[in-house]
Symmetry: C2
């Protein structure tokens, strides 16, 4: 059975959070397209463009930050040809109910039918953020 | 002469900021795709999904906020088939050098060759933000 596009995108989005929780930079690297067009904005970070800038940010996050465990809810998948994006809420389980982020995750479908991440942006959910 | 895809995306991105500066909700409506898949995160706002939610946010911004004048710099355009995204910096001219935002603007190419906005996310540039 071939997975539908929406299922493929949901699986790719899930794989991103599995790699994030595992703090595994190699696993994270398999989720992303390795190209100059990828982008990433972590909360409070500058905008990073290109895999050469995005990869070290994951290495830095996994080396320096505490372990994060996500509960992903309200996942909305949108498809546009070979592109797709997911808007979802990242709840950080160990950090209390106010520690929620919105994420927008972008994917493209590559030749073998896999969906690769080309963009990740997260920002605090304002009604929960402290001092936002 | 037919505009290249990159030129078309740059023009669409510029049209977005023209509509934003003009505070013209009808002009803004011509920039966007009117569909359930569009998304928008204004700084400090919840994530809005679908044109029925995105349109009122522009109406609200244009009705209630002060006039904004943008200087857009470091615009990087990426293409992926019929999708494109622009990462840029929004400098708010009247609000001092610290009032800068990153923006990620997403577009899709529709049948007549026009590029329509399907996503806009902006977030404070951290090294400039006060109290971020």
């Amino acid at each position: 059975m071939v997975a539908s596009d929406e299922e493929g995108v949901r699986n790719a989005n899930a794989a991103f959070y599995v790699a994030f929780e595992a703090r595994d930079v190699h696993q994270m690297a398999t989720v992303w397209e390795h190209s100059s067009r990828v982008f990433c904005i972590h909360p409070g970070w500058p905008a990073l463009i290109g895999w050469d800038n995005v990869l070290p940010s994951w290495y830095g996050l996994f080396t320096n930050s505490e372990r994060l465990q996500f509960l992903i809810v309200n996942e909305v998948v949108s498809l546009a040809g070979d592109c797709a994006w997911v808007v979802c809420e990242e709840n950080l389980i160990d950090q209390g109910p106010e520690a929620g982020l919105y994420a927008i995750n972008h994917f493209i479908c590559v030749e073998d039918g896999r969906w690769l991440m080309v963009g990740h942006v997260s920002a605090p959910i304002p009604e929960r953020a402290v001092g936002f």
